[in-house]
Symmetry: C2
Subunit: 316 residues, 2 copies
């Protein structure tokens, strides 16, 4: 059976695109006509926000589904609206999967062993009903995880990765300006940065998850904003796929992806959220937000593939 990494690489080949679209709905940035429609239906409620998010995301997905392999909804934007937010999140996941997209849930979950298992059950595994029967819940393809707690906090996720052909991406070097405060500190004994030590752990956590195409389904989050240092991390985890956020509005560029790729041209996916979802604001075209997102996605594909070609890494 194909692993998550196999499915992801196959989908990348099919779309000839290593980029990923973030689905991070922010009510302040949803086109006004969608908010008006939602208020008309549900009043000024959490339900209205959830409805607007779902409508917004479906239109985005319709415009990008033929272009990318994978989408990344960020749970923070949904769960803040409690029940209607969770409904919108699940509707988004299900719609994306119905359009043939893989879904990485960005939730950065983490806890000690037994509690981490609850997160894993819900997001990538199975949950138990009153009768003892087990069924899937969120059922995303992959989940982001924070590894600060060490092996026993990550192991339950890895078990589900293996059991259900799912994936996880463990935070390694995050895209934000402050990431170095802890992640760049050098360790006394190994002379490695904390993020390099984390990369070693991520490599180890992925043992036994290698698929037909050689890649592991335990990947790493490495900000494209720090992609120029990507070889540092790649060295410690040669067969982990890097999920690289920070393209576009955070400052990451196509050329910054290159050092993270293996000589085979694989090993990274590059996420853009605001630069796709909210390009309508810059373009002043609220009614065409979906089409503008599609155009921005196409442009990102062209830009990244040009950088890959220049580096001799374009496979298609």
């Amino acid at each position: 059976m194909k692993t998550f990494a196999d499915k992801l690489l196959d989908a990348i080949d099919a779309k000839q695109n290593i980029s990923c679209v973030g689905l991070d709905p922010d009510i302040q940035k949803i086109p006004p006509f969608l908010k008006d429609e939602a208020i008309a239906l549900f009043g000024d409620t959490f339900e209205a926000v959830g409805h607007a998010f779902t409508q917004f995301n479906k239109e985005i997905i319709d415009n990008i589904a033929d272009l990318v392999a994978v989408v990344k909804p960020q749970m923070a934007f949904y769960e803040k609206y409690m029940v209607p937010g969770i409904i919108a999140f699940k509707a988004t996941v299900d719609y994306a999967r119905s359009r043939g997209l893989l879904v990485i849930e960005d939730a950065k979950r983490n806890d000690i062993k037994n509690t981490a298992k609850q997160y894993s059950d819900g997001h990538i595994g199975l949950v138990e009903l009153c009768s003892g029967k087990k069924v899937p819940a969120f059922n995303v393809d992959a989940l982001t995880v924070n590894g600060y707690l060490g092996t026993d906090g990550v192991a339950p996720f890895v078990e589900d990765v293996k059991a259900y052909q799912k994936g996880i991406f463990v935070l390694d070097k995050t895209s934000n300006p402050s990431s170095g405060e802890l992640q760049d500190l050098v360790l006394e004994e190994s002379k490695l940065m904390v993020s390099e030590r984390m990369a070693q752990m991520i490599d180890k956590w992925g043992e036994g998850t290698e698929g037909e195409r050689g890649y592991k389904s335990v990947g790493a989050v490495v900000g494209v904003t720090y992609g120029k240092d990507g070889a540092v991390f790649r060295k410690w985890m040669p067969k982990s796929i890097m999920l690289m956020p920070g393209y576009g509005s955070q400052g990451g560029a196509a050329k910054d992806v290159i050092p993270c790729l293996n000589p085979d041209g694989y090993g990274a996916i590059v996420n853009n959220s605001s630069g796709i979802n909210y390009v309508w604001i810059k373009d002043k075209m609220p009614e065409d937000f979906g089409a503008r997102a599609g155009i921005a996605t196409e442009k990102m594909k062209v830009d990244i593939n040009a950088a890959l070609k220049e580096a001799g890494l374009l496979k298609w």
Copy 2:
């Protein structure tokens, strides 16, 4: 206006108890009669699980509300059941607050600045509706946070701590066996462990959150399982309150809390989840699960206060 830390210390004085009860409902450990009732009402569904969780928690809360200052529901156990889980979580939070308890949501949320703000909005701040109006959502008193991403990932939470008299507890030295894999590593320049460096950052993040009683509303998670080393962490964050999980089933004991306390007898709260919620299993008394939880909570109070008295730290 009183800060979270002020409210917590006042409540500790009122109950003469520094312990905290975890509310971590696990369907495998819910008394069979509650599951049967839930299936009769809702069938073998997620709704049934959510109903059983709510009934279970209300009974636990009724039996401990006069004994403790604070409860700590662990979000992982709820969100795995999606909408019914979120409903049960919110019902639990609201019920606990209606019984005069402070509520610490254990969710270990973390992300980059703008995304961390979404989490903070939802859990301890305000969320925006379609009209732009802002209202509270989960509205817990405090939230656990993972600081791996550094200052800009924690700052949005701290802003809400200050604006709405809320609290956060940032992971420092977690209670699990693997926590040392990263947290115990010694840094080259400072010769401090990663967890000591994190303690320094927690202290800094808490600046400006000091309340009338001198404590900060930015606290730290330090496992009581490592409490004997508590002075190491206390040194770097003298006025941060430590949330100490791991009492009881994880192996933490009353004496291990002492090194974490300040000479004034304050500075830590000690959490027990399984040893309170599921004492009915050991006692083989499913019908009396609530009363057994109350007795176990009383015993924990007596044990911890005896250790405080022996150390000359009992205030009441």
